[in-house]
């Protein structure tokens, strides 16, 4: 009972994290800020939601599988973000951030 409640708290917390990640890619007016913030808050949300689901299902083979998925995402997610940021920087894309007196 108490474990069920804790897992619900975890999942709601993850949804709040992910909301900030989605809000961040509309809030910032500069590509490099977006790539810094948004897709990483994503990782925090992912880990939290997986922790909540692992608590909910209890210990078993599926828990270990979800742990394996988490490990995979920890390895591959930074690589894709790095590829996108490096590709933009090497091509020379650079804009100034939007002024407030627009």
């Amino acid at each position: 009972m108490i474990i069920d409640f804790i897992s619900k708290v975890f999942i709601v917390l993850a949804l709040i994290f992910m909301f900030f990640g989605v809000y961040g890619i509309f809030r910032f007016r500069d590509f490099y800020s977006r790539v810094l913030i948004s897709s990483k808050v994503e990782t925090v949300g992912f880990l939290t939601i997986m922790a909540g689901i692992m608590l909910k299902t209890g210990f078993g083979y599926s828990t270990l599988k979800i742990l394996f998925i988490c490990l995979m995402v920890i390895v591959t997610n930074p690589l894709s973000t790095h590829a996108v940021a490096r590709s933009a920087l090497k091509s020379g894309y650079k804009i100034s951030e939007e002024n407030n007196d627009d």
Partner: protein, 86 residues
């Protein structure tokens, strides 16, 4: 409708909102960023779906996804960087 069903709907609404950035994003790199985010949200919803319907073999598909979305993003990013030579 249980708690996890509601979570699934919220995650899919997030994916739909990220799609707006993919469509209006001024450059191609914004679109790639959105692609990355949507693919991680799809992985999330597959895991939740496997818990909701109690079918644990769906987790294998999530595992395959976490490899493939990454390969697509890296290939397109390298393609754009080197002007057409992968």
């Amino acid at each position: 409708m249980g708690f996890l069903d509601a979570v699934l709907i919220v995650v899919s609404i997030y994916a739909a909102v990220v799609l707006i950035r993919v469509v209006i994003g001024p450059t191609i790199w914004d679109r790639l960023l959105g692609f990355n985010m949507i693919s991680s949200k799809i992985i999330m919803s597959i895991v939740i779906l496997s818990v909701v319907t109690d079918r644990s073999f769906l987790l294998d598909i999530a595992l395959v996804y976490s490899f493939l979305g990454f390969i697509g993003t890296v290939l397109i990013a390298r393609f754009v960087e080197t002007r057409g030579e992968i």
